[in-house]
Amino acid sequence: MNDVVNNSRGGTATVHAAGVEIKDLRKSYGSNEVLKGISLNVAPGEVVCLIGPSGSGKSTLLRCVNLLEQPNQGSIHVGGFEATDPDVDIDKMRRKVGMVFQQFNLFPHLDAKRNCSIAQTKVLKRSQAEADKVSMHNLERVGLGHLSDRFPDQLSGGQQQRVAIARALSMDPELMLFDEPTSALDPETVGDVLSVMRNLAKEGMTMLVVTHEMGFAREVADRVVFMDGGIVVEEGVAEQVISAPTQARTKEFLRRVLDPTHIDIEE
Protein backbone atom coordinates (compact mmCIF):
# COMPACT_ATOMS: atom_id res chain seq x y z
CA MET A 1 0.00 0.00 0.00
CA ASN A 2 2.74 2.37 -0.96
CA ASP A 3 0.61 4.74 -2.99
CA VAL A 4 1.74 8.01 -4.39
CA VAL A 5 -1.18 10.14 -3.36
CA ASN A 6 -2.03 13.07 -5.50
CA ASN A 7 -4.88 14.63 -3.69
CA SER A 8 -7.25 17.50 -3.96
CA ARG A 9 -5.44 19.51 -1.31
CA GLY A 10 -2.62 20.25 -3.71
CA GLY A 11 0.05 18.28 -1.90
CA THR A 12 1.89 15.31 -3.27
CA ALA A 13 3.62 12.95 -0.94
CA THR A 14 4.65 9.35 -0.64
CA VAL A 15 3.03 7.85 2.40
CA HIS A 16 1.88 4.45 3.47
CA ALA A 17 -1.78 5.30 3.58
CA ALA A 18 -4.40 2.76 4.55
CA GLY A 19 -8.09 2.86 3.83
CA VAL A 20 -11.00 1.97 6.08
CA GLU A 21 -14.12 -0.02 5.18
CA ILE A 22 -16.94 -0.08 7.69
CA LYS A 23 -19.96 -2.26 6.93
CA ASP A 24 -23.28 -2.24 8.79
CA LEU A 25 -21.65 -1.55 12.15
CA ARG A 26 -23.79 -1.86 15.26
CA LYS A 27 -22.87 -1.10 18.85
CA SER A 28 -25.04 -1.12 21.97
CA TYR A 29 -24.46 -0.29 25.60
CA GLY A 30 -27.00 -2.49 27.32
CA SER A 31 -30.33 -1.73 25.67
CA ASN A 32 -29.09 1.59 24.30
CA GLU A 33 -28.08 1.17 20.66
CA VAL A 34 -25.63 3.96 19.79
CA LEU A 35 -24.59 2.76 16.33
CA LYS A 36 -27.51 1.48 14.27
CA GLY A 37 -25.86 0.04 11.21
CA ILE A 38 -23.14 2.38 9.93
CA SER A 39 -21.45 1.86 6.58
CA LEU A 40 -18.59 4.13 5.64
CA ASN A 41 -15.57 3.89 3.38
CA VAL A 42 -12.44 6.01 3.62
CA ALA A 43 -10.04 5.70 0.71
CA PRO A 44 -6.27 5.70 1.27
CA GLY A 45 -5.14 9.33 1.60
CA GLU A 46 -8.65 10.62 2.07
CA VAL A 47 -9.68 13.03 4.83
CA VAL A 48 -13.17 12.45 6.22
CA CYS A 49 -14.75 14.60 8.93
CA LEU A 50 -17.50 13.16 11.12
CA ILE A 51 -19.88 15.82 12.35
CA GLY A 52 -23.08 15.69 14.32
CA PRO A 53 -24.67 16.54 17.67
CA SER A 54 -23.25 15.05 20.86
CA GLY A 55 -24.61 11.58 21.49
CA SER A 56 -24.90 10.91 17.76
CA GLY A 57 -22.36 8.06 18.00
CA LYS A 58 -19.52 9.67 16.03
CA SER A 59 -16.92 9.23 18.78
CA THR A 60 -18.07 5.66 19.39
CA LEU A 61 -17.71 4.94 15.67
CA LEU A 62 -14.17 6.34 15.70
CA ARG A 63 -13.25 4.33 18.78
CA CYS A 64 -14.58 1.16 17.15
CA VAL A 65 -12.09 1.55 14.30
CA ASN A 66 -9.13 0.82 16.60
CA LEU A 67 -11.22 -1.38 18.89
CA LEU A 68 -11.21 0.86 21.95
CA GLU A 69 -14.88 -0.06 21.75
CA GLN A 70 -15.91 -3.56 20.74
CA PRO A 71 -18.66 -3.45 18.08
CA ASN A 72 -21.54 -5.92 18.43
CA GLN A 73 -22.14 -6.49 14.71
CA GLY A 74 -20.81 -5.60 11.30
CA SER A 75 -17.27 -5.48 9.97
CA ILE A 76 -14.37 -3.06 9.90
CA HIS A 77 -11.37 -3.42 7.60
CA VAL A 78 -8.34 -1.23 8.25
CA GLY A 79 -5.45 -1.58 5.82
CA GLY A 80 -4.83 -5.29 5.61
CA PHE A 81 -6.57 -6.06 8.89
CA GLU A 82 -10.10 -7.15 9.63
CA ALA A 83 -10.59 -5.43 12.98
CA THR A 84 -13.79 -7.34 13.67
CA ASP A 85 -12.15 -10.75 13.20
CA PRO A 86 -11.98 -12.29 16.72
CA ASP A 87 -8.50 -13.60 15.93
CA VAL A 88 -7.07 -10.28 14.75
CA ASP A 89 -3.78 -9.23 16.34
CA ILE A 90 -5.13 -6.05 17.91
CA ASP A 91 -1.74 -4.69 18.93
CA LYS A 92 -0.27 -5.18 15.48
CA MET A 93 -3.26 -3.46 13.90
CA ARG A 94 -3.14 -0.53 16.31
CA ARG A 95 0.47 0.20 15.35
CA LYS A 96 -0.85 1.24 11.95
CA VAL A 97 -3.59 3.42 13.43
CA GLY A 98 -2.67 6.65 15.23
CA MET A 99 -5.19 7.96 17.73
CA VAL A 100 -5.50 11.53 19.03
CA PHE A 101 -7.81 12.07 22.01
CA GLN A 102 -9.87 15.06 23.10
CA GLN A 103 -8.07 15.03 26.47
CA PHE A 104 -4.58 14.54 24.88
CA ASN A 105 -3.77 11.64 27.27
CA LEU A 106 -0.05 12.38 27.24
CA PHE A 107 1.93 10.33 29.74
CA PRO A 108 2.50 12.84 32.57
CA HIS A 109 5.56 11.06 33.98
CA LEU A 110 7.49 11.32 30.69
CA ASP A 111 8.82 14.38 28.85
CA ALA A 112 7.65 15.23 25.34
CA LYS A 113 10.42 13.27 23.64
CA ARG A 114 9.92 10.17 25.82
CA ASN A 115 6.18 10.41 25.18
CA CYS A 116 6.99 10.00 21.50
CA SER A 117 9.71 7.37 21.88
CA ILE A 118 8.33 5.03 24.55
CA ALA A 119 6.12 2.96 22.24
CA GLN A 120 8.76 2.98 19.51
CA THR A 121 11.27 1.27 21.80
CA LYS A 122 8.81 -1.01 23.61
CA VAL A 123 6.56 -1.97 20.69
CA LEU A 124 8.53 -1.45 17.46
CA LYS A 125 11.78 -2.46 19.22
CA ARG A 126 13.65 0.51 17.79
CA SER A 127 16.90 1.47 19.51
CA GLN A 128 16.66 4.45 21.86
CA ALA A 129 18.86 6.51 19.52
CA GLU A 130 16.72 5.77 16.49
CA ALA A 131 13.51 6.34 18.42
CA ASP A 132 14.82 9.70 19.69
CA LYS A 133 15.65 10.71 16.14
CA VAL A 134 12.17 9.85 14.92
CA SER A 135 10.62 11.61 17.94
CA MET A 136 12.59 14.80 17.33
CA HIS A 137 11.67 14.72 13.65
CA ASN A 138 7.98 14.51 14.51
CA LEU A 139 8.16 17.10 17.29
CA GLU A 140 9.73 19.46 14.78
CA ARG A 141 7.00 18.56 12.33
CA VAL A 142 4.40 19.86 14.82
CA GLY A 143 6.58 22.89 15.62
CA LEU A 144 7.69 21.79 19.08
CA GLY A 145 11.26 20.60 18.57
CA HIS A 146 12.46 23.23 21.04
CA LEU A 147 10.21 21.93 23.83
CA SER A 148 11.18 18.24 23.62
CA ASP A 149 12.40 18.11 27.23
CA ARG A 150 9.23 19.65 28.70
CA PHE A 151 6.81 17.55 30.72
CA PRO A 152 3.12 17.66 29.79
CA ASP A 153 2.21 19.87 32.78
CA GLN A 154 4.70 22.46 31.50
CA LEU A 155 2.93 22.74 28.15
CA SER A 156 -0.23 24.55 27.10
CA GLY A 157 -3.23 22.54 25.95
CA GLY A 158 -2.49 23.22 22.29
CA GLN A 159 1.15 22.22 22.75
CA GLN A 160 0.13 19.04 24.54
CA GLN A 161 -2.21 18.11 21.71
CA ARG A 162 0.56 18.70 19.16
CA VAL A 163 2.88 16.44 21.19
CA ALA A 164 0.09 13.86 21.17
CA ILE A 165 -0.05 14.11 17.38
CA ALA A 166 3.74 13.76 17.18
CA ARG A 167 3.54 10.75 19.49
CA ALA A 168 1.02 9.06 17.17
CA LEU A 169 3.04 9.96 14.06
CA SER A 170 6.20 8.48 15.58
CA MET A 171 4.72 5.01 15.10
CA ASP A 172 4.53 5.63 11.31
CA PRO A 173 0.76 5.11 11.17
CA GLU A 174 -1.12 4.58 7.91
CA LEU A 175 -4.32 6.06 9.29
CA MET A 176 -4.91 8.79 11.87
CA LEU A 177 -8.04 8.98 14.03
CA PHE A 178 -8.85 12.31 15.71
CA ASP A 179 -11.50 12.37 18.44
CA GLU A 180 -12.55 16.02 18.86
CA PRO A 181 -8.89 17.10 18.99
CA THR A 182 -9.61 20.79 19.60
CA SER A 183 -12.68 20.58 21.86
CA ALA A 184 -10.70 20.80 25.12
CA LEU A 185 -8.45 23.65 23.95
CA ASP A 186 -8.36 27.36 24.71
CA PRO A 187 -9.61 29.18 21.59
CA GLU A 188 -6.24 30.81 20.89
CA THR A 189 -4.42 27.46 20.65
CA VAL A 190 -6.95 25.75 18.37
CA GLY A 191 -5.38 27.23 15.23
CA ASP A 192 -1.94 25.68 15.85
CA VAL A 193 -3.42 22.21 16.19
CA LEU A 194 -5.61 22.61 13.10
CA SER A 195 -2.69 23.81 11.01
CA VAL A 196 -0.67 20.73 12.04
CA MET A 197 -3.61 18.59 10.95
CA ARG A 198 -3.93 20.53 7.68
CA ASN A 199 -0.26 19.82 6.88
CA LEU A 200 -0.75 16.18 7.68
CA ALA A 201 -3.66 16.06 5.26
CA LYS A 202 -1.50 17.65 2.57
CA GLU A 203 1.12 14.97 3.07
CA GLY A 204 -1.47 12.39 2.08
CA MET A 205 -2.31 10.85 5.44
CA THR A 206 -5.65 9.04 5.68
CA MET A 207 -7.57 10.88 8.37
CA LEU A 208 -10.87 10.27 10.10
CA VAL A 209 -11.72 13.31 12.21
CA VAL A 210 -14.56 13.84 14.67
CA THR A 211 -14.84 17.62 14.92
CA HIS A 212 -17.03 20.63 15.52
CA GLU A 213 -14.69 22.89 13.53
CA MET A 214 -16.79 23.48 10.42
CA GLY A 215 -14.20 25.81 8.91
CA PHE A 216 -11.59 23.07 9.11
CA ALA A 217 -14.00 20.46 7.73
CA ARG A 218 -14.93 22.68 4.79
CA GLU A 219 -11.34 23.54 3.95
CA VAL A 220 -9.46 20.31 4.63
CA ALA A 221 -11.89 17.40 4.40
CA ASP A 222 -12.53 15.59 1.13
CA ARG A 223 -15.81 14.37 2.51
CA VAL A 224 -18.05 15.22 5.43
CA VAL A 225 -20.31 12.67 7.10
CA PHE A 226 -23.19 13.94 9.21
CA MET A 227 -24.37 11.50 11.89
CA ASP A 228 -27.39 11.74 14.15
CA GLY A 229 -29.03 9.14 16.37
CA GLY A 230 -26.56 6.41 15.45
CA ILE A 231 -27.00 6.55 11.69
CA VAL A 232 -25.37 8.38 8.80
CA VAL A 233 -27.92 11.02 7.82
CA GLU A 234 -26.01 12.68 5.02
CA GLU A 235 -22.58 12.46 3.45
CA GLY A 236 -20.86 14.05 0.55
CA VAL A 237 -18.25 16.53 -0.62
CA ALA A 238 -17.37 18.79 2.30
CA GLU A 239 -18.35 22.07 0.66
CA GLN A 240 -21.68 20.69 -0.47
CA VAL A 241 -22.75 19.12 2.85
CA ILE A 242 -21.81 22.20 4.86
CA SER A 243 -23.00 24.90 2.46
CA ALA A 244 -25.96 23.16 0.83
CA PRO A 245 -27.21 20.29 3.02
CA THR A 246 -30.18 18.37 1.65
CA GLN A 247 -31.51 16.78 4.83
CA ALA A 248 -33.57 18.73 7.38
CA ARG A 249 -31.62 17.39 10.35
CA THR A 250 -28.33 18.40 8.78
CA LYS A 251 -29.65 21.89 8.06
CA GLU A 252 -30.89 22.25 11.64
CA PHE A 253 -27.58 21.07 13.12
CA LEU A 254 -25.48 23.33 10.90
CA ARG A 255 -27.69 26.31 11.65
CA ARG A 256 -27.08 25.80 15.38
CA VAL A 257 -23.33 25.22 15.01
CA LEU A 258 -22.67 28.04 12.58
CA ASP A 259 -24.88 30.52 14.43
CA PRO A 260 -24.74 29.59 18.10
CA THR A 261 -26.35 32.85 19.25
CA HIS A 262 -29.51 32.12 17.30
CA ILE A 263 -32.38 31.66 19.75
CA ASP A 264 -35.18 29.34 18.78
CA ILE A 265 -38.30 30.81 20.38
CA GLU A 266 -40.40 27.69 19.98
CA GLU A 267 -38.13 25.64 22.27
Binding site: L68, D91, G98, M99, F101, P108, H109, K122
Partner: protein, 263 residues
Protein backbone atom coordinates in the same frame (compact mmCIF):
# COMPACT_ATOMS: atom_id res chain seq x y z
CA UNK B 1 -21.23 44.21 81.72
CA UNK B 2 -21.17 42.60 78.34
CA UNK B 3 -17.84 41.41 76.93
CA UNK B 4 -16.70 41.96 73.38
CA UNK B 5 -16.01 38.92 71.20
CA UNK B 6 -12.33 39.52 71.63
CA UNK B 7 -12.58 39.58 75.44
CA UNK B 8 -14.63 36.40 75.41
CA UNK B 9 -12.01 34.63 73.30
CA UNK B 10 -9.28 35.73 75.73
CA UNK B 11 -11.18 34.52 78.81
CA UNK B 12 -11.84 31.19 77.09
CA UNK B 13 -8.14 30.81 76.38
CA UNK B 14 -7.25 31.51 80.06
CA UNK B 15 -9.77 28.91 81.24
CA UNK B 16 -8.35 26.29 78.88
CA UNK B 17 -4.78 27.02 79.99
CA UNK B 18 -5.88 26.83 83.65
CA UNK B 19 -7.47 23.39 83.17
CA UNK B 20 -4.34 22.13 81.43
CA UNK B 21 -2.05 23.37 84.29
CA UNK B 22 -4.26 21.78 86.96
CA UNK B 23 -4.32 18.46 85.08
CA UNK B 24 -0.52 18.39 84.80
CA UNK B 25 -0.14 19.30 88.48
CA UNK B 26 -2.53 16.53 89.52
CA UNK B 27 -0.62 14.03 87.39
CA UNK B 28 2.72 15.08 88.98
CA UNK B 29 1.31 14.86 92.53
CA UNK B 30 -0.29 11.46 91.92
CA UNK B 31 2.90 9.95 90.50
CA UNK B 32 5.06 7.68 92.63
CA UNK B 33 8.33 9.24 91.51
CA UNK B 34 10.60 6.88 93.38
CA UNK B 35 9.14 3.77 91.76
CA UNK B 36 9.10 5.41 88.35
CA UNK B 37 12.72 6.40 88.77
CA UNK B 38 13.65 2.80 89.60
CA UNK B 39 11.56 0.94 87.09
CA UNK B 40 10.93 3.20 84.09
CA UNK B 41 13.59 5.89 83.93
CA UNK B 42 16.41 3.85 85.41
CA UNK B 43 18.98 4.71 82.79
CA UNK B 44 21.94 3.90 85.11
CA UNK B 45 21.55 0.16 84.61
CA UNK B 46 20.92 -0.14 80.91
CA UNK B 47 24.58 0.04 79.86
CA UNK B 48 24.72 -3.69 78.94
CA UNK B 49 22.04 -3.13 76.28
CA UNK B 50 24.58 -1.28 74.19
CA UNK B 51 25.85 -1.74 71.57
CA UNK B 52 23.70 -4.87 71.11
CA UNK B 53 20.40 -3.05 70.76
CA UNK B 54 22.01 -1.04 68.01
CA UNK B 55 24.01 -3.57 66.00
CA UNK B 56 21.58 -6.46 66.52
CA UNK B 57 18.18 -5.11 67.58
CA UNK B 58 17.88 -2.10 65.31
CA UNK B 59 19.57 -3.83 62.38
CA UNK B 60 17.32 -6.92 62.67
CA UNK B 61 14.18 -4.81 62.93
CA UNK B 62 15.23 -3.01 59.75
CA UNK B 63 16.05 -6.27 57.96
CA UNK B 64 12.78 -7.97 58.98
CA UNK B 65 10.77 -4.90 57.99
CA UNK B 66 12.56 -4.60 54.66
CA UNK B 67 12.09 -8.27 53.77
CA UNK B 68 8.44 -8.13 54.84
CA UNK B 69 7.94 -5.02 52.75
CA UNK B 70 9.49 -6.57 49.62
CA UNK B 71 7.24 -9.62 49.90
CA UNK B 72 4.28 -7.38 50.82
CA UNK B 73 4.84 -5.08 47.87
CA UNK B 74 5.15 -7.89 45.31
CA UNK B 75 2.19 -9.77 46.78
CA UNK B 76 0.21 -6.56 47.14
CA UNK B 77 0.77 -5.60 43.50
CA UNK B 78 -0.29 -9.08 42.37
CA UNK B 79 -3.42 -8.94 44.55
CA UNK B 80 -4.28 -5.42 43.39
CA UNK B 81 -4.04 -6.49 39.73
CA UNK B 82 -6.12 -9.59 40.50
CA UNK B 83 -8.72 -7.46 42.21
CA UNK B 84 -9.01 -5.25 39.12
CA UNK B 85 -9.01 -8.23 36.75
CA UNK B 86 -11.96 -8.88 34.48
CA UNK B 87 -11.72 -12.58 35.39
CA UNK B 88 -14.10 -13.13 38.37
CA UNK B 89 -12.15 -16.00 39.96
CA UNK B 90 -9.09 -13.75 40.38
CA UNK B 91 -11.22 -11.05 41.98
CA UNK B 92 -12.78 -13.52 44.43
CA UNK B 93 -9.42 -14.99 45.44
CA UNK B 94 -7.92 -11.55 45.97
CA UNK B 95 -10.91 -10.26 47.93
CA UNK B 96 -10.94 -13.36 50.12
CA UNK B 97 -7.23 -13.09 50.84
CA UNK B 98 -7.37 -9.39 51.63
CA UNK B 99 -10.39 -9.66 53.91
CA UNK B 100 -8.89 -12.65 55.73
CA UNK B 101 -5.45 -11.22 56.41
CA UNK B 102 -6.74 -7.76 57.27
CA UNK B 103 -9.28 -9.27 59.60
CA UNK B 104 -7.09 -11.47 61.82
CA UNK B 105 -4.41 -10.20 64.24
CA UNK B 106 -0.90 -10.30 62.78
CA UNK B 107 0.16 -12.18 65.89
CA UNK B 108 -1.90 -15.20 64.82
CA UNK B 109 -0.22 -15.19 61.43
CA UNK B 110 3.20 -15.31 63.10
CA UNK B 111 2.13 -18.20 65.30
CA UNK B 112 0.63 -20.03 62.32
CA UNK B 113 3.79 -19.72 60.25
CA UNK B 114 6.17 -20.15 63.19
CA UNK B 115 4.56 -23.27 64.65
CA UNK B 116 1.57 -24.43 62.62
CA UNK B 117 3.06 -24.67 59.13
CA UNK B 118 6.30 -26.40 60.25
CA UNK B 119 4.24 -28.94 62.19
CA UNK B 120 1.72 -29.51 59.43
CA UNK B 121 4.25 -29.94 56.62
CA UNK B 122 7.21 -31.26 58.56
CA UNK B 123 9.44 -28.45 57.35
CA UNK B 124 11.80 -26.41 59.49
CA UNK B 125 12.24 -22.96 58.09
CA UNK B 126 14.92 -20.49 58.89
CA UNK B 127 13.53 -17.78 61.19
CA UNK B 128 14.23 -15.09 58.57
CA UNK B 129 12.09 -16.95 56.05
CA UNK B 130 9.23 -17.30 58.55
CA UNK B 131 9.38 -13.59 59.35
CA UNK B 132 9.60 -12.65 55.71
CA UNK B 133 6.57 -14.73 54.76
CA UNK B 134 4.31 -13.95 57.70
CA UNK B 135 5.07 -10.24 57.79
CA UNK B 136 4.88 -10.11 53.97
CA UNK B 137 1.53 -11.88 53.83
CA UNK B 138 -0.03 -9.49 56.33
CA UNK B 139 1.54 -6.47 54.61
CA UNK B 140 0.41 -7.59 51.14
CA UNK B 141 -3.25 -7.48 52.21
CA UNK B 142 -2.96 -3.85 53.29
CA UNK B 143 -0.67 -2.81 50.42
CA UNK B 144 -3.02 -4.44 47.89
CA UNK B 145 -5.85 -2.09 48.86
CA UNK B 146 -3.55 0.93 48.71
CA UNK B 147 -2.22 -0.05 45.28
CA UNK B 148 -5.68 -0.83 43.96
CA UNK B 149 -6.78 2.68 44.85
CA UNK B 150 -3.64 4.05 43.16
CA UNK B 151 -4.17 2.04 39.99
CA UNK B 152 -7.78 3.21 39.80
CA UNK B 153 -6.68 6.82 40.30
CA UNK B 154 -4.71 6.73 37.03
CA UNK B 155 -7.08 8.15 34.38
CA UNK B 156 -8.55 5.57 31.99
CA UNK B 157 -7.26 7.60 29.04
CA UNK B 158 -3.69 6.67 29.97
CA UNK B 159 -4.36 2.98 29.34
CA UNK B 160 -6.30 3.82 26.16
CA UNK B 161 -3.46 5.98 24.83
CA UNK B 162 -0.93 3.25 25.56
CA UNK B 163 -3.08 0.54 23.98
CA UNK B 164 -3.68 2.78 20.94
CA UNK B 165 0.07 2.92 20.41
CA UNK B 166 0.06 -0.86 20.03
CA UNK B 167 1.17 -1.77 23.54
CA UNK B 168 -0.25 -5.06 24.81
CA UNK B 169 -2.21 -4.83 28.08
CA UNK B 170 0.68 -6.02 30.30
CA UNK B 171 3.15 -3.63 28.65
CA UNK B 172 0.80 -0.68 29.05
CA UNK B 173 0.34 -1.53 32.73
CA UNK B 174 4.08 -1.95 33.38
CA UNK B 175 5.29 1.06 31.40
CA UNK B 176 2.49 3.58 31.77
CA UNK B 177 -0.08 2.80 34.49
CA UNK B 178 1.92 1.22 37.34
CA UNK B 179 4.66 3.92 37.46
CA UNK B 180 1.97 6.60 37.76
CA UNK B 181 0.06 4.58 40.36
CA UNK B 182 3.22 4.25 42.48
CA UNK B 183 3.72 7.99 42.48
CA UNK B 184 0.15 8.45 43.70
CA UNK B 185 0.49 5.87 46.48
CA UNK B 186 3.97 6.83 47.69
CA UNK B 187 2.68 8.67 50.81
CA UNK B 188 0.25 5.93 51.95
CA UNK B 189 2.86 3.31 51.08
CA UNK B 190 5.34 5.01 53.40
CA UNK B 191 2.73 4.79 56.13
CA UNK B 192 2.46 1.06 55.44
CA UNK B 193 6.19 0.75 56.11
CA UNK B 194 5.70 2.48 59.46
CA UNK B 195 2.94 0.02 60.41
CA UNK B 196 5.11 -2.84 59.23
CA UNK B 197 8.04 -1.66 61.36
CA UNK B 198 5.82 -1.84 64.40
CA UNK B 199 4.25 -5.19 63.40
CA UNK B 200 7.75 -6.68 63.21
CA UNK B 201 7.78 -6.44 67.04
CA UNK B 202 5.40 -9.41 67.14
CA UNK B 203 8.23 -11.72 66.13
CA UNK B 204 9.02 -12.20 69.83
CA UNK B 205 6.50 -15.07 69.91
CA UNK B 206 8.73 -17.16 67.65
CA UNK B 207 11.48 -17.97 70.13
CA UNK B 208 14.50 -16.22 68.69
CA UNK B 209 18.15 -16.88 69.35
CA UNK B 210 20.23 -13.94 70.57
CA UNK B 211 21.54 -13.00 67.12
CA UNK B 212 17.96 -12.87 65.78
CA UNK B 213 16.64 -10.44 68.40
CA UNK B 214 14.89 -7.38 67.11
CA UNK B 215 14.16 -4.25 69.16
CA UNK B 216 11.14 -5.43 71.17
CA UNK B 217 12.67 -8.82 72.00
CA UNK B 218 15.81 -6.96 73.04
CA UNK B 219 13.76 -4.78 75.36
CA UNK B 220 11.84 -7.71 76.88
CA UNK B 221 15.10 -9.57 77.40
CA UNK B 222 16.50 -6.52 79.21
CA UNK B 223 13.53 -6.43 81.58
CA UNK B 224 14.39 -9.84 82.99
CA UNK B 225 18.16 -9.50 83.01
CA UNK B 226 19.03 -5.91 83.94
CA UNK B 227 16.90 -5.18 87.02
CA UNK B 228 16.01 -1.77 85.68
CA UNK B 229 12.29 -2.50 85.50
CA UNK B 230 10.64 -1.45 82.26
CA UNK B 231 13.43 0.94 81.28
CA UNK B 232 14.77 -1.35 78.49
CA UNK B 233 11.37 -1.23 76.78
CA UNK B 234 11.48 2.56 76.93
CA UNK B 235 14.84 2.43 75.16
CA UNK B 236 13.46 0.02 72.54
CA UNK B 237 10.53 2.37 72.03
CA UNK B 238 12.91 5.27 71.42
CA UNK B 239 14.67 3.24 68.73
CA UNK B 240 11.34 2.65 66.96
CA UNK B 241 10.85 6.39 66.86
CA UNK B 242 14.30 6.72 65.31
CA UNK B 243 12.95 4.66 62.39
CA UNK B 244 9.35 5.86 62.18
CA UNK B 245 9.67 9.64 62.61
CA UNK B 246 11.97 10.08 59.57
CA UNK B 247 9.57 7.86 57.62
CA UNK B 248 6.52 9.96 58.42
CA UNK B 249 8.57 13.05 57.60
CA UNK B 250 9.33 11.43 54.25
CA UNK B 251 5.63 10.61 53.72
CA UNK B 252 4.70 14.26 54.27
CA UNK B 253 7.39 15.32 51.83
CA UNK B 254 6.05 12.94 49.16
CA UNK B 255 2.58 14.23 49.85
CA UNK B 256 3.46 17.87 49.27
CA UNK B 257 5.42 16.93 46.18
CA UNK B 258 2.44 15.04 44.76
CA UNK B 259 0.24 18.01 45.57
CA UNK B 260 2.55 20.36 43.69
CA UNK B 261 2.91 18.36 40.51
CA UNK B 262 1.39 15.26 39.04
CA UNK B 263 4.67 14.06 37.66
Amino acid sequence: MAMTARQRARVSLYVQAGIFVVAIAALILATDWETIGNSVFNFGKIGPMFPGIFVTGLVNTLIYTFLGFIVGLSGGLLLALMKLSSFPLYRWIATGYIEFFRGIPALLVFIAFGYGVPLAFGVSWNITVIVMISLGMVASAYIAETLRAGLQAVPKGQLEAARSLGMPQWRAMVTIVIPQAFKIVLPPLTNEVILLTKDSSLIYVLGLTASQYELTKFGRDGISSLGAGLTPLLVAGAFYLVITIPLSFLARKFESRTARSNR
